[in-house]
Symmetry: C2
Subunit: 338 residues, 2 copies
C-alpha cells in the first residue's frame, strides 16, 4: 500500500520553533473518490507567514489547528486522477497543499500550472507566483513609486523584496535595499540594479539611509518591522506610502510588535500606512501578470530560488527565513520534476 509523509503541528511554538513542535508522520494514502486527484508534491514554498500560522495570535487566516498538516503553498504533479479535468502527469497548483509528500484533492480546487517556455518550473512559485504578486501589488497598488522618487525595501534580498525593488526601478524610482551581509548587498547593486544597498548586519542603518537617501524616502516597502522599520519610517517624506508586507523580525517574539516610535510623523508628514495580504488581490492577479510575465520574458526581472532537498528537513529549512541563510525564494524540493 502506498504511503505519504506529512508534517503535523503538535503544539504551538513559543519563540523559535523547537523539535517536537511539528512531527513527521507516515500513513497510507487513501483511495480517491470521484472528482478527486492524487498530487505528488514537487515543491513546497516556505514563507515567513508559516510562522504566523503556527501561532494562535490574531491573524488573517485561521491558524493551523493542532494535529493538522502544516499549511503551505505547493506545486505538484498528478499521479492518479478520477476527474476529467486532469490526467496523470499534469503539473498543478493544489492551493495550500501543505507540508506533505502527496495530497488527495478535489479537482475543483486544483489549478493547472502553465510553464513559460525557457523559464524553470520553480518560477511559478516565485516571480510568477504568489511572491511576484505580493511584490507587484504592494509596490504598484500601495507604494505607487513615481519616477525620481526614493524607495526603500527591507529584506531586499528576500523573495518578495528583491522583486519589489526591481519593480520600483522599472517604474523609474531610485531604490535602496536593506539586507544582511555583503554578498546579498552586492547582488542587489551588482545584478539587480538597485541604486544602493545597506548591510544592516555591519553598518548603522540610519546613517546609511541619511547618506543614500539625501532627499528622504517616499516609499517604504516594509518586510521586517522593529528598529529597521523605525530607521526608515523616521526618514519618510511628506505623502510617503508604506505598504506593510511583513514584520519578520518580530514573528518569533511572543509579544506582538508596537508601531513606529514616532507615530506623530504619520500626521505631520501625511503618511499612508497600509497592511496587505496577497490573497486579497488574487481576483486581480491578471493585472500583475500582464506586467510580470513580459518582464520575465524580456529578462528585465531577475530572481533567485534557494532549493533545499527533502520534506524531512522542512523544519530546518524554515529557519533560514529567520537567519537569512538563503537567497531569494526558499523552496523545498519534495520529489523530482516529471
Amino acid at each position: 500500500m502506498a504511503t505519504l509523509k506529512r508534517w503535523v503541528l503538535r503544539r504551538r511554538p513559543v519563540g523559535e520553533i523547537q523539535p517536537g513542535d511539528l512531527e513527521l508522520v507516515e500513513e497510507p494514502i487513501r483511495d480517491l473518490n470521484d472528482g478527486e486527484v492524487l498530487v505528488r508534491t514537487l515543491y513546497l514554498s516556505l514563507d515567513p507567514t508559516n510562522r504566523i500560522w503556527m501561532s494562535d495570535q490574531d491573524q488573517y487566516m485561521p491558524p493551523v489547528e493542532i494535529g493538522d498538516t502544516m499549511r503551505g503553498g505547493s506545486m505538484g504533479v498528478v499521479v492518479q486522477s478520477r476527474s476529467d479535468k486532469f490526467k496523470q502527469g499534469d503539473v498543478v497548483n493544489p492551493g495550500m497543499g501543505g507540508w506533505t509528500s502527496h495530497v488527495v484533492a478535489d479537482a475543483a480546487m486544483v489549478f493547472p500550472v502553465r510553464q513559460m517556455p525557457g523559464v524553470p518550473l520553480t518560477a511559478n512559485m516565485s516571480v510568477l507566483g504568489g511572491t511576484g504578486l505580493t511584490a507587484w501589488f504592494g509596490m504598484c497598488d500601495i507604494g505607487k513609486p513615481q519616477p525620481g522618487e526614493t524607495v526603500v525595501v527591507s529584506a531586499a534580498a528576500g523573495a518578495v523584496g528583491s522583486i519589489a525593488g526591481q519593480i520600483a526601478k522599472l517604474k523609474g524610482a531610485r531604490v535602496i535595499g536593506i539586507a544582511g551581509g555583503k554578498a546579498k548587498c552586492d547582488w542587489l547593486t551588482g545584478e539587480l540594479g538597485f541604486d544602493g544597498a545597506i548591510d544592516y548586519k555591519n553598518e548603522d542603518v540610519g546613517a546609511a539611509l541619511d547618506r543614500l537617501c539625501p532627499k528622504g524616502i517616499d516609499v517604504n516597502f516594509e518586510n521586517v518591522g522593529g528598529d529597521i522599520m523605525d530607521a526608515v519610517f523616521n526618514r519618510l517624506n511628506n505623502y510617503a506610502r508604506m505598504p506593510l508586507c511583513g514584520l519578520i523580525s518580530t514573528y518569533n517574539d511572543p509579544d506582538r510588535p508596537s508601531g513606529p516610535t514616532d507615530f506623530a510623523r504619520v500626521l505631520m508628514h501625511r503618511i499612508n500606512i497600509r497592511g496587505f495580504i496577497v490573497t486579497d488581490f488574487l481576483p486581480r492577479a491578471g493585472e500583475a501578470m500582464a506586467e510580470l510575465a513580459p518582464w520575465v520574458a524580456e529578462g528585465k526581472l531577475k530572481w533567485k530560488v534557494h532549493v533545499d532537498q527533502g520534506l524531512e528537513g522542512a523544519m530546518d529549512s524554515l529557519q533560514r527565513l529567520f537567519t537569512g541563510n538563503h537567497d531569494g525564494k526558499l523552496l523545498i524540493q519534495v520529489s523530482p520534476e516529471p
Copy 2:
C-alpha cells in the same frame, strides 16, 4: 496714533503652556502701502494644532518663531483699504491672521467671506470653514464609510469630531462617539443623532466599544491618540480605514507618542492608516462645500461654537482644548461684528 495688541511667542512651552511663554504686546499700527488693507480681527480660531506650532518638533509647517506673533486662523473686517479689491466694512478671511487685534495684509492674500443667509458669521470658522473641511475630507476621502459600517470618532464633541460623526451618519454608517462627560455624550446621541456615545472620563472605553460595536469597527476617525486610540485600533475590522486627524492627548507631552501597541494588526487586518492636514485639500474645497453648504441650509448638519470674549484671555481660552471645558468649535471674539 492707533495701536494694535498681539500675542508674541517668547519661549517654547515645555509640557503645559505657562505664563510667560507668550506675551501680549501693544504697538502702533503702521501706515498702509499700496495694495494693502488693515483688518480688524473679529474672531480668532483656537485649534489643537496651535500647540504644535508653539513647539519646534518636526511638523507640517514651520513652527512659529520666537518673537513672532502667534499663528492662528481668523476672520476680520476691513477698516482701511489701499486696494481696489476691498472696501471698508468688508468681512474677510486674512488667512493666518494670527493672535492679533489688527493685521495689515497684502490684499492679494485676503479673501472675502460669503455669509450664508440666516447662518451666523461664525459658521465660516466652523462647519463652513476649516473645521468642516477637515471633517469632510478626513471622513469622505480617507474614512469612506459605507452604509451599515461602524464608525468611531474620538473627541466626538469637539469641533471636527462632531461634524465628522454627522457626516458619517449622513453617509449611512452607524456612528459611535467618544467624549468626556455626560453632557457631551447626551448632546451626541440626543441632538446629533449618533448611535452611541462613550464617556471616557467615566467608563472603560474598551468595554463600551465591545458593547456598542458588536460587529467591530470599520472607520476610526482619530483625533486623540494614546490609550483611547489603542482601544479603538484593537477592534478595527479587516480593511478598516483610520484617518489620523490629530493626537491631542499627546500634544503637551515633551515626547512624541508611539504608534498602536499591536502594530501587527495593521498587517493581519489590512488596515489603512493615513495622516492628513486640511491645508493639503484646500484646492479641492469646492467638493466638500458642495455637500456641506446644502446640509447646513437644510438643517441636516448641526454645530456648536464656544465663544470666549477678548484677545487678552487667549492663553486661558486655549487651555479649554486640553481640558475639554468647551463645546464644539472654540473661538475668541476679538471685536464686535460690524
